[in-house]
């Protein structure tokens, strides 16, 4: 039960964390009440992740203090935090990919003698109690993003934490899975668990939270009851400017005239994920591809880009500019003008320890393989500066390591790495996942600009408003194939969801 007078279960006082002389959060006051759902929102780089990492013992405060139930604490490791009842579900999953779901659930809590069968049964019962449809014997690396997220959530719940911090928990969940998740969150609240909830989907923050704290540039701007906020106010407080008309808020009303057919996928098959899939992509248009997790969207376009292979026998055909192509590796696809901007930027998108300029230049080298005898540092620097300016990548210099950037800026680096190849067909897979609202607007603007320039653009997204605000054509995929096509004016959320589910 939330009351004004109950002592906060968790409190930060004048919390400051400095990285290399730059404060990530600065004198932030924050309190979490017992049984409360508290949303923290802010642009990427606003300090949300740092603040929650402090609470979860991942990083330590430079100054200020942290109190749990009124006692001063200073967790040095996530295990310390767990012992005092604080668990965190990370945005980038922290599961061991080679272990099974059950092994991951009980990792660190194993008894001296374990019987695998017993663990599986226990895990199965536990997952069922949460209504999570995940096989406990499945190896984590074989699970999709949504199921990995479920395991992360289940692990936090299993540890009986009294404070659970969710960092972008719904980014990879389907609408139905989201509903389960919110039910679970409300159930946890009923049990007296306090929840900190970080999300870029502002509607979700407005839907489930009791209070909302907004951070901007490492400082707390405002904390207030949910009822005092609406979407426009949140966005305004987050970015310090009115952005509500520049992205998801607006439906697309015009359709670009399609140019020539750049890509034709015919009867494509890839294991159990893509089943006899056929589609076309045209120049000068944004083709949105919507589908639930597991509908084979990403796999279809990964086959197109040569990242994964289609079925060896009777795998169908891919025609690029009416020429049959079959890429076994991505390099020839890149040379033929196909760029794929990955959905998992951290794993597949960039080299963490390389600079921004270095990452972008690698994109060019991939395109020009065999045409450059020597790597030119000057060319690297110039191209880095050009793309930093063009995509408005916010960094101190071009030599900053990619890992040190916020999610939105990392995404811009990944996009630059593809655009420097001057592709004809650009495939954006979840282009704004884990990206703040300011960067979303910029990325959307860029996608529109590319289509206006005559490029064939594909946007794969699980977020319907994104699909509807960007796409000239909307393809809906279900069970491995395109089942419906809508032009932008005729599409409604209901129609698209109906096609995606039924």
């Amino acid at each position: 039960m939330t009351t004004e007078f109950a002592p906060p279960v968790l409190e930060l006082r004048k919390a400051t964390k400095v990285y290399a002389g730059v404060p990530a959060i600065e004198e932030v006051d924050f309190s979490l009440r017992s049984g409360e759902i508290h949303a923290i929102v802010g642009e990427n780089g606003a300090g949300k992740s740092t603040m929650t990492k402090v609470m979860a013992g991942v990083v330590n405060l430079s100054s200020g203090e942290m109190l749990v139930d009124g006692h001063n604490v200073s967790p040095k490791t996530p295990n310390d935090a767990l012992r005092i009842g604080i668990a965190m579900v990370f945005q980038e999953t922290s599961l061991v990919p080679t272990m099974t779901v059950a092994q991951n659930l009980f990792l660190g809590q194993e008894r001296y003698f374990n019987r695998l069968r017993g663990i599986y049964i226990e895990a199965q019962q536990f997952m069922q109690s949460l209504q999570f449809d995940v096989d406990p014997t499945a190896v984590v690396s074989l699970l999709g993003a949504a199921k990995k997220q479920m395991v992360e959530i289940a692990r936090a719940v299993l540890h009986n934490a009294k404070v659970i911090i969710f960092d972008e928990p719904t980014a990879s969940l389907t609408p139905e899975e989201k509903k389960y998740f919110f039910d679970l969150v409300l159930d946890l609240k009923k049990r007296g668990v306090s929840i900190i909830f970080i999300s870029h989907a502002l509607e979700e923050a407005l839907l489930v939270s009791d209070r909302i704290t907004i951070l901007r540039d490492g400082k707390r701007v405002v904390t207030d009851d949910k009822d005092t906020f609406d979407r426009a106010r949140i966005v305004k407080e987050m970015v310090g400017r009115d952005l509500s008309q520049t992205h998801y808020g607006q439906r697309k009303t015009t359709v670009r005239q399609q140019g020539k057919r750049v890509l034709s996928v015919q009867n494509l098959r890839m294991a159990a994920m893509v089943k006899n899939n056929s589609l076309s992509v045209f120049a000068g248009q944004v083709t949105g591809v919507f589908g639930l997790v597991g509908s084979g969207r990403t796999e279809t376009f990964k086959v197109v880009a040569g990242i994964i292979k289609r079925d060896f026998m009777h795998g169908g055909e891919i025609l690029l500019n009416d020429r049959p192509v079959r890429y076994l590796v991505p390099a020839p696809a890149v040379r033929d003008g196909v760029a794929y901007v990955t959905e998992d930027r951290k794993l597949e998108g960039f080299f963490e320890t390389k600079s921004i300029a270095g990452n972008i230049y690698l994109g060019l080298l991939a395109k020009l393989r065999g045409k450059r005898d020597l790597v030119s540092r000057r060319e690297e620097g110039e191209s880095g500066e050009h793309w930093i300016k063009r995509l408005n990548i916010r960094a101190i210099s071009k030599d900053v390591k990619a890992i040190e950037l916020s999610g939105g800026n990392q995404q811009k680096v990944v996009i630059s790495k593809s655009l420097i190849q001057d592709p004809e067909l650009i495939i954006f897979d979840e282009p704004t996942r884990g990206v703040d609202v300011g960067a979303i607007a910029e990325i959307h603007q860029l996608i529109n600009q590319l289509a206006d320039e005559g490029k064939a653009v594909v946007v794969i997204s699980s977020y319907l408003p994104e699909i509807m605000s960007l796409s000239d054509r909307i393809l809906v995929q279900r069970m491995g194939k395109v089942v419906e096509e809508f032009s932008s004016p005729e599409a409604t959320e209901e129609k698209i969801m109906y096609a995606a589910i039924h």
Binding site: R261, S280, H314, G315, D322, L475
Partner: protein, 365 residues
């Protein structure tokens, strides 16, 4: 030797030429019901082709040529043989093909000019004629040795003997433009070139003097037929039958295909048709196509109605359809006249009239 090994590997692995894939109807080819909903101007059992002089619609029906004024038709010519193709000439005359073996000019400055028959050149299946503004004629001869009625045999025999000729009514000269085509069915002057429908290769090819042939559009999901100019620039292209994986498969299974040609009646072949659903003896029977009275959306169609609107570069702008649960199938000709599009659906033996603005709006919706 290497070629044979590659072909064998492709056949084994179902790739390359052996990939049984069919382009999908999406983007500007997205299916609608515009042709099915069109007004029926007339029902004619033996209609073969349409033409227009910009004012009136002309229809080749059996041995006659009909002229339509509004919804009323009048017979203006009657010939000794069936008319398989017709074109209006700039000087007011018309050119017709008789039984696919002769081309004859009637009326205008060159009344009575005749090619083929007992002349130097022999035609077999003239199925389309078009006139240029300077009075020259282009004709397509679908196949050497098979008449227009035997197009299905030509397809299932992998025929590749189609020809295109340019005829000069002023002096009677004839010039071969192309030969060895996989069924030539439809031709049009476009940007100084002759655009020809090469049906069995699902493409439009541009033939220009002193240039090698160039594909204008390839990978069509149907077998293209006649072409006609559109008033706002660009062209109307009809696809008289649809490609299906089943037929593509049969076309690659040579021993089966040859036995089928030899032993089975043509109407029961696994082959495209201008109309279907008339008998349960068809290869895809009614029970396979319908469940609880509803046509299964995944059932392979034998017949279909499709008209494609192209721009000046041959890119598809939009398309009009009669889906496979409809009747107005086998559209072999479409011409634009006085703001309306007229289409000949041989499958239903109907002349259809589509108000152009409305059709375009419906097709683009």
């Amino acid at each position: 030797m290497i070629d044979s090994i590659l072909k064998l590997t492709d056949r084994l692995l179902g790739r390359g030429d052996a990939a049984i894939t069919v382009p999908v109807f999406d983007g500007p080819l997205k299916a609608n019901n515009v042709i099915e909903a069109a007004e029926v101007l007339d029902s004619l059992e033996a209609a073969q082709d349409l033409a227009t002089d910009g004012q009136h619609l002309f229809v080749a029906n059996g041995t006659c040529v009909l002229r339509y004024k509004g919804n009323v038709s009048e017979k203006i010519h009657d010939f000794e043989a069936p008319v398989t193709a017709i074109a209006c000439l700039p000087d007011g005359g018309i050119a017709v093909s008789l039984a696919g073996r002769e081309v004859l000019v009637v009326g205008g400055d060159y009344d009575g000019r005749r090619w083929g028959g007992s002349g130097d050149i022999q035609f077999y299946a003239v199925n389309a004629i078009t006139a240029s503004t300077d009075g020259l004629l282009l004709v397509t001869d679908g196949s050497v040795g098979r008449s227009t009625a035997h197009w299905k045999t030509d397809l299932m025999s992998l025929g590749a003997s189609g020809r295109v000729f340019e005829l000069n009514p002023a002096n009677g000269n004839i010039r071969s433009v192309a030969s060895g085509l996989s069924y030539a069915y439809g031709v049009c002057y476009a940007d100084g070139a002759a655009w020809v429908s090469e049906s069995w290769r699902h493409r439009l090819v541009a033939f220009r003097n002193d240039h090698s042939p160039k594909a204008v559009i390839s990978g069509l999901p149907g077998y293209p037929s006649r072409l006609s100019p559109a008033a706002g620039g660009g062209y109307w292209l009809t696809c008289f039958v649809l490609r299906t994986q089943l037929v593509e498969f049969v076309l690659r299974e040579h021993s089966f295909r040859k036995r089928m040609l030899k032993e089975v009646e043509p109407q029961y072949w696994i082959a495209p048709a201008l109309n279907s659903g008339n008998t349960f003896l068809e290869p895809m029977q009614g029970a396979h196509l319908k469940m609880m009275g509803v046509v299964k959306p995944w059932a392979p169609p034998r017949s279909y109605g499709l008209i494609i609107r192209l721009n000046n570069n041959g890119e598809i702008l939009y398309s009009l359809h009669s889906r496979f649960d409809g009747k107005n199938h086998g559209v072999v000709a479409a011409v634009e006249c006085q703001g309306d599009l007229y289409a000949l659906a041989q499958g239903s033996q109907r002349i259809l009239k589509l108000p152009l603005a409305e059709a375009e709006r419906s097709a683009r919706a």
